[in-house]
């Protein structure tokens, strides 16, 4: 056995806990998880059955954590996991799973298959397996400040532009601000209007906020590739900066896995609770709405639908908040089938999007969303994750579908009741 394989198996062993054992003990191989999986449903290839993607992890658990398995192992009947096995499973664990969590919701015995895929990736990654794009992004982010390279200059430029556009001063490293705002690299690179949108909404609501070059990147490729050490390093940068600045909270941006990483995995990665609150931008906007601090005027009259990012709704519990906000500004809001908790993935999450090897299967998977959008025929799709936004735009373009995609924060800012704003939309 090679050293890297042994390291991978050790990392996998560390992931096996009581829930994992309960899940494997409960599986009746009914195959219902396949019916909930976008990759199986759009390809009908049984190899994409979610629970099968965990065969290796199940083998390790049975061999080493059950009496029968240990006895079988002792007499040489336990099948060992090889490096070739891990190579073969890359397609299943990385290329054809966005960790969207639908299988977890469908499993009749309650197995959290998605959580186990996340754990499986820890073993794969430690054994040196994973998409080269994610490995490269992890390296760039660990060594620098973002998976897209050093975006500090770009951030400065975007913030300066937003300040000029809005006439609102956005201060870097402001001690004692209410919130530290962090962004997804996708927002800085592709959707920077969100900065001006936040500036206007927060100014109106009386919320103070700041930005820092030391921790501006919210995405966490460590969580996607399955490497706790990298994930811890990246979360640690945000935690250190937030605590140094003494902010009350950190605003998790419109990014699905960033919210998972910072809000739910982060304290467990660094081994202690934070001294500040983590709030998703849409949670915060809905809170401001409830407090009467976010008021809008006028409505978007286009036919508009909403795409729920899996990590924010299904895996993150933010379901009602975006709808509360949409109902303030949307005149013709229509939900797609399965909207909300059981929404279908955009097809690019969980590291599938950047993974070129997965392009073909991802395109097939997108057909689910395509049909859903065709059915409701929206003029605009609103979402609350920059990577979903990016994926939807790219896939819509590939499918020659002329539908606008917009982030919810930007939409709210468009209709902000703000008499000082001169560049508002025509009403």
């Amino acid at each position: 056995m090679t050293a890297t394989l042994e390291r991978g198996l050790n990392a996998l062993r560390e992931q096996i806990d009581a829930p994992v054992a309960a899940f494997f003990s409960s599986c009746v191989s009914c195959g219902i998880c396949a019916e909930a999986c976008i990759f199986y449903r759009e390809t009908h290839d049984p190899k994409f059955t979610p629970i099968r993607k965990l065969d290796l992890m199940r083998r390790l658990w049975r061999n080493e954590y059950t009496l029968f398995g240990r006895l079988a192992n002792m007499v040489g009947l336990g099948r060992r996991i090889t490096d070739d096995d891990l190579s073969a499973w890359e397609e299943l664990v990385y290329d054809s799973c966005t960790m969207c969590g639908r299988c977890t919701m469908a499993c009749p015995v309650g197995n959290d298959i998605t959580m186990m895929i996340r754990k499986m990736r820890e073993g794969m990654s430690a054994a040196g397996h994973g998409p080269v794009e994610l490995i490269g992004a992890a390296q760039r982010h660990s060594d620098g400040s973002s998976p897209m390279g050093d975006l500090r200059k770009a951030l400065r430029a975007r913030v300066k532009h937003a300040s000029q556009e809005t006439g609102i001063d956005i201060e870097f490293d402001k001690q004692g601000a209410d919130y530290l705002a962090i962004f997804s690299a996708q927002e800085i690179a592709e959707f920077p209007d969100v900065i001006a949108a936040m500036a206007r909404i927060f100014k109106k609501a009386g919320v103070t906020w700041t930005v820092s070059e030391d921790a501006y990147e919210a995405t966490n490729v460590g969580v996607q590739i399955g490497n706790r050490d990298i994930a811890r390093l990246l979360v640690g940068r945000i935690v250190d900066t937030a605590e140094k600045l003494g902010v009350k909270g950190v605003i998790s941006p419109e990014c699905g896995h960033a919210y998972q990483a910072l809000r739910w995995e982060g304290p467990n990665l660094i081994g202690r609770p934070y001294t500040f609150e983590v709030v998703h931008i849409i949670e915060l906007l809905d809170r401001l709405r409830a407090q009467g601090k976010l008021k809008t005027t006028g409505k978007d009259t286009t036919r508009l639908t909403f795409h729920d990012p899996c990590q924010i709704n299904r895996r993150g519990g933010i379901d009602r908040e975006p709808r509360n906000l949409l109902n303030m500004v949307a005149d013709d809001f229509i939900e797609t089938d399965d909207a909300g908790t059981m929404n279908w993935c955009c097809s690019g999450g969980g590291g599938v999007g950047p993974n070129e090897r997965a392009n073909a299967v991802q395109s097939k998977a997108f057909n689910m969303k395509k049909r859903q959008f065709e059915k409701v025929a929206p003029d605009k799709i609103v979402t609350m994750c920059a990577f979903c936004h990016h994926t939807l735009e790219a896939q819509l373009d590939d499918n020659n579908m002329d539908i606008e995609v917009q982030g919810l924060t930007e939409l709210m800012a468009e209709y902000l009741d703000d008499e000082t704003w001169e560049r508002g939309p025509e009403r």
């Binding site: 096996i16 806990d17 195959g31 059955t49 099968r52 954590y65 029968f68 309650g110 895996r315 519990g317």
Partner: protein, 221 residues
């Protein structure tokens, strides 16, 4: 003249049952300890919802399929419901079974009529064959099928078939058929802790964990 199968029946009801019961109880205890002993790290992220309440709730709510999924796996869902309900009715609500349990632990409850029990058994057996068909005909289920699945299918079928034959004296010596019925149940008990039959216990844990993990985040489960 003594029935030649009487000794077999007495052995099945006596020593064999005791052995099976011991393996059943000790095996389940071992498996549960194997699971629980692995532990679970305390979650340090502040909870948004109530993990315990949602975990407990999910134990029950997960019995209802997600909207739309039944249409994609009708045999698995409907066959699964019929089999489980039929098995439960036959096992717990048949008079002689209740009398047996009463003799064992001194607890009894009202029974159902034989017509209902036999209908439940017949439906359960039909459901088992439908589930076997789905397992063989559907590529997803066929690919998931292991020796364990086939063994458990057979072990679930045998008590119902032998019980039906014994009660209705359809063929064979009634004493022999009763002994075979009891032995088939004992095989099921022995296999229980070491096969996927164990899901009948661990599904409670799995559903609880699922609900608690989701509930902590304020997410649905």
């Amino acid at each position: 003249m003594n029935n030649p199968y009487f000794d077999l029946l007495m052995w099945a009801r006596g020593p064999a049952f005791n052995i099976a019961l011991f393996i059943f109880v000790a095996g389940i205890a071992l498996r549960v300890v194997e699971i629980v002993a692995l532990g679970r790290k305390r979650d340090l992220a502040p909870a948004k919802g109530n993990p315990v309440a949602q975990g407990l709730k999910t134990i029950f709510t997960r019995s209802v399929p997600r909207k739309g999924l039944v249409a994609y796996a009708p045999i698995t869902y409907i066959g699964g419901y019929i089999f489980h309900m039929g098995f439960f009715v036959a096992f717990f609500l048949f008079g002689p079974h209740i009398a047996f349990i009463d003799g064992l632990i001194g607890v009894s409850w009202p029974n159902l009529s034989r017509v209902i029990i036999e209908s439940a058994v017949a439906l359960s057996v039909l459901a088992l064959f439908a589930l076997l068909y789905a397992r063989m005909a559907d590529p997803v289920r066929r690919a998931l099928t292991t020796f364990d699945d086939c063994l458990v299918w057979l072990l679930s079928l045998l008590p119902m078939v032998t019980g039906y034959v014994a009660v209705n004296k359809l063929f064979g010596d009634p004493t022999l058929m009763l002994a075979l019925h009891i032995l088939s149940v004992e095989l099921l008990m022995i296999a229980f802790p070491f096969t996927k039959l164990m899901h009948a216990v661990t599904f409670v844990m799995a559903r609880y964990y699922n609900g608690a993990i989701q509930g902590r985040k304020g997410a649905q489960s």
